[in-house]
Amino acid sequence: MEGLNFIGAGLVVIGAGIGIGKIGGSAMEAIARQPEATGKIQAAMLIAAALIEGIGFAALFAV
């Protein structure tokens, strides 16, 4: 099947997008609850988002 790998990559990117979205949403909630911990939450959020992003790129480069 021609082009199936592109669909697979698309699925991975959708997954990564949902993951990063959830991290962002949770971080927002956490910041709303504890505004004084904003810096720490942001740093943790960025690290987690970067790790997921890596998987997304791995899928894109496997195509």
Binding site: K40, A50, E53, G54, F57
Partner: protein, 371 residues
Amino acid sequence: MSHMQRKFSMKKLAFLVFFISGVVFGQHHEEKTSHTTTHKEQNSTLSLKEEFKKFKEHHIQDSHSFDFVSYKNDEGEKVHIGFPLPVILWDNGLKIFSSSKFHHGESVAEAGGNYYKLHHGKIYKTEANGLLNLDEHHHPTNVKPLDFSITKSIFFVIAVALLMFFIFSKIAKSYKTSALPTGLGRFLEPLILFIRDDIAIPNIGKKHYKKYMSYLLTIFFFIWIINLLGLTPLGVNVTNNIAITFVLAIMTYLFTTFTANKNYWKHIFWMPGVPIPMKILLAPIELLGTIIKPFALMIRLYANITAGHIVLMSILGMMVIAHNWLGSSLSFVLAFVLSLLELLVAALQTYIFTMLSSLYFGMAVEEHDEH
């Protein structure tokens, strides 16, 4: 005494890394040369779409000369505006000549009785007629001499290194006369303090952070400046060369490995508080983890910057290919917005790289008194 020794070994380590980097840059293969354009290159009537695709691939690749613009003039000749860079080859002796001899891959360069030809950014040894033997995948089978050339990427690595040395030694000197920063120092001081107070100290700890500050500051400013240069119309693309991110990641790996204390190794090979069969099972996984961490660093920076460049180039290509008012205006707006996003990505990836490096250093020097 041990402090002196450590300093000395760090110097040696840095030298070794730079030596490796030279070899890696030279031998780096961009295997992604497209299969669709290679066999059509003799065909002078390329469609606009294919020509743009070729241009895009050329932009992603490293090159032996520095071209600002290249276009076809009225007679159909290709005109390149830019300057050549030195080619340094090791082929039974050192051969140094200017890349202008290649005429952008159109002619054969002669040096010390040997003939070389440029083919898709790689130098091959040929006969005097300059013919390449292509295999069935259109890859040349000719011998490739060891290539230590100052390519565009290396030119910019050196330029940024000199620039950073100049700027930061000047700033450091200005602190000798007054505690207040002057000039560019006013802009850079908050960033340096941010790296110290928000990246190094929370992750590494107050006791050990000083040892790593010089490295963290260096990679932060190096990656940041070079990412920002990549967004200028100069066509610089250093961090989307995987060899360069590889060297940056390997530096983090080596610094982590060689400065790690015995607790770090204990937690890899014989972690406390785990049953013995589990210890045997986990040790190889943990050991693999130490390599996967810098590998992810390498891929992350490379992939982010490359993806950004490709998307930006594709959107710009819409203007050429669509060739109507809608495509052009849409492409302009999208490219502008995406450039702003890339500005953020350039800073964010720098931050992530520095942050994760300091996190790994923190793991290496962590002291587990609680067990």
